[in-house]
């Protein structure tokens, strides 16, 4: 595409798309989730196994996921067990990482934990610090987004959005993006899932692991099927949030990183050509 072509190409209006509340909470969450993830993996490493039920089976089997190291004919190897199936996970750094002379036997490797070495106490301090900010930010976002209409306008999918999903899937698969005034069907579904399912779920399962909270809200234990199941769900939701993050970043690059980033910093977003103008738009 040449410069001349770009200059003659019609431009859509510049619209004020993201309110200050959306932008600030977005970046606070980005920082929180970064620290929560890496300290969460540190905490997981203290006992790198997940179970179903109230307790952890040491004399019976109720584990669904485990990272460890095993001795083989070829020397020690990292081993990950998912639903009873063993996988050699040395290449991923799970169970065993570091170099050949100085192997490190931890669940997740030091490159993805804070601190980079085993330090459960620090991991917990940092996790709970950002956990509080994360929860407070969710509260602020829900109140602000309910009042300013962001939830109604952009997040909760409407029947027309559901009907538009197949076409939107095709558009995404072919990297053809429409930059409209509100979000597309898949965007709405993704954000709805994050705000109304994943965020509440990861907070509630986190609280279910607190013995203090268990005394005041034992129904949380029943809701999730036990403290260890809650821990497993907490982990699975983490994986889903990481998956969301990866797709989120890919979509930002695919849809035009400058425009997307600008809208999340300044609020102003360049819509696709042909988007009807409305009051308050800039050319």
């Amino acid at each position: 595409m040449s410069q001349a072509n770009a200059a003659t190409k019609p431009k859509g209006p510049l619209i004020y798309r993201q309110s200050i509340w959306t932008r600030v909470t977005h970046w606070v969450w980005a920082i929180c989730l970064f620290f929560l993830l890496l300290t969460g993996l540190q905490i997981f490493n203290a006992h790198p196994a997940l179970y179903i039920g109230q307790q952890s089976g040491f004399e019976f089997e109720n584990s669904v996921f485990k990272i460890g190291a095993v001795n083989t004919d070829a020397g020690p190897r990292g081993q990950t067990t998912v639903l009873g199936q063993n996988f050699d996970s040395t290449a991923l750094g799970l169970g065993m990482s570091g170099n050949a002379e100085r192997p490190v036997y931890t669940g997740f490797p030091g490159g993805v934990t804070i601190p980079s070495y085993r330090d459960l106490g620090t991991g917990r301090v940092v996790h709970f610090f950002f956990g509080w900010i994360f929860v407070a930010t969710i509260f602020v976002w829900f109140v602000a987004s309910f009042i300013n209409g962001h939830i109604r306008r952009d997040i909760v999918p409407r029947p027309s959005d559901i009907a538009g999903v197949p076409k939107d899937v095709v558009d995404h698969a072919t990297l053809r993006f429409k930059h409209g005034r509100t979000y597309g069907p898949l965007q709405k579904l993704a954000y709805f899932g994050v705000f109304f399912v994943l965020f509440p779920l990861i907070v509630a399962t986190g609280l279910t692991m607190s013995p203090g909270m268990n005394s005041i809200a034992p129904w949380l234990l029943d809701l999730f099927g036990g403290r260890q199941t809650a821990r497993t769900i907490h982990f699975i939701v983490m994986l889903l949030l990481v998956a969301f993050f990866v797709i989120h970043i890919l979509m930002v690059f695919a849809a035009g990183p400058i425009n997307e980033l600008r809208s999340m910093i300044t609020g102003w977003y360049r819509a696709s050509p042909g988007t009807p103008s409305s009051e308050g738009d800039k050319p």
């Binding site: 952890s56 040491f58 610090f129 509080w132 005394s215 403290r227 690059f253």
Partner: protein, 262 residues
């Protein structure tokens, strides 16, 4: 043609962004482990917030969940010290704890001591509870013992007392300059909680050495490191700084939060 280039650029930028994220973890944030650092000091305020909020929303007497006998599916997993080697403890163990005394001292009207036989003859409470280790695992077991609250009343806790410090026999860590003995502490709410029992029985047997014989205190609304094993002295104080490194317990001194309710 232009579509192809766009895709290639797209993949290249994605790869660069992805590798940046992997590098981000590493060791840039190891400074947060420095307990005297300003960032760490600020972050530890979150632990105080957790403690205050839980104390505000959870009733002082609210019980930890108790389970049915059918939920006891395994022995109680021993962790931390499992066989103390201090001469004092070995001598007591040799005599089947006949000479054992539990002492309550400090900010009390009168220092009191109880033998194991006296503790066993006091009102008994049995509870099947879930033990949650800070590491992440849980284990359900049946604990039998006498509630701590009435014993504290016998000693007469002074109004200035704010914490109980629990002193233990076990040398949790051995260093060149000598053994480090386990200790932890709680506020008076946890000490007086109806499920806070001085346990001498586990799963209908005498509490074994690996689980803290002869006496282990249960504080059921907190994590495992707040359940001191091999307990011998309870000291009522108004300040935790004179003990150990001043953070209220052995694990607390290494960086665990003092409250331990989350």
């Amino acid at each position: 043609m232009s579509r192809l280039i766009t895709r290639r650029n797209f993949l290249r930028t994605s790869a660069v962004a992805g590798s940046g994220l992997i590098l981000a973890g590493c060791d840039q944030f190891d400074f947060l482990a420095d307990k005297s650092g300003p960032a760490r000091q600020i972050m530890e305020r979150a632990n105080v917030l957790t403690y205050s909020v839980q104390r505000a929303v959870i009733g002082e007497q609210t019980l930890a969940r108790e389970y049915a006998a059918s939920e006891i599916r395994q022995g109680m997993r021993p962790n931390g010290s499992v066989d103390p080697t201090t001469p004092e403890y070995l001598a007591l163990k040799e005599a089947n704890f006949a000479g054992y005394k539990l002492t309550i001292k400090g900010l009390v009207d009168r220092e009191v001591s109880f033998s194991l036989a006296e503790l066993r003859n006091m009102p008994e409470r049995t509870q099947i509870t879930r033990h949650d280790c800070v590491e992440g695992w849980s284990c359900i077991a049946k604990w039998t013992g006498t509630p701590l609250g009435p014993l504290l009343d016998m000693a007469g806790v002074k109004s200035t007392a704010r914490y109980c410090v629990y002193h233990c026999f076990d040398n949790i860590q051995r260093t060149l300059s000598g053994d480090i003995l386990y200790y932890t502490s709680s506020d008076l709410i946890d000490a007086y909680h109806p499920q806070s029992i001085l346990s001498y029985g586990l799963n209908d047997e005498v509490l074994p050495v690996s689980n803290g014989a002869p006496i282990r205190l249960r504080i059921e609304r907190a994590l495992g490191y707040k359940q001191p094993k091999y307990l011998h002295t309870i000291e009522l104080v108004d300040d935790l700084t004179p003990f150990g490194k001043g953070r209220g317990g052995y694990w607390e001194d290494t960086g665990y939060d003092w409250y331990g309710g989350i």
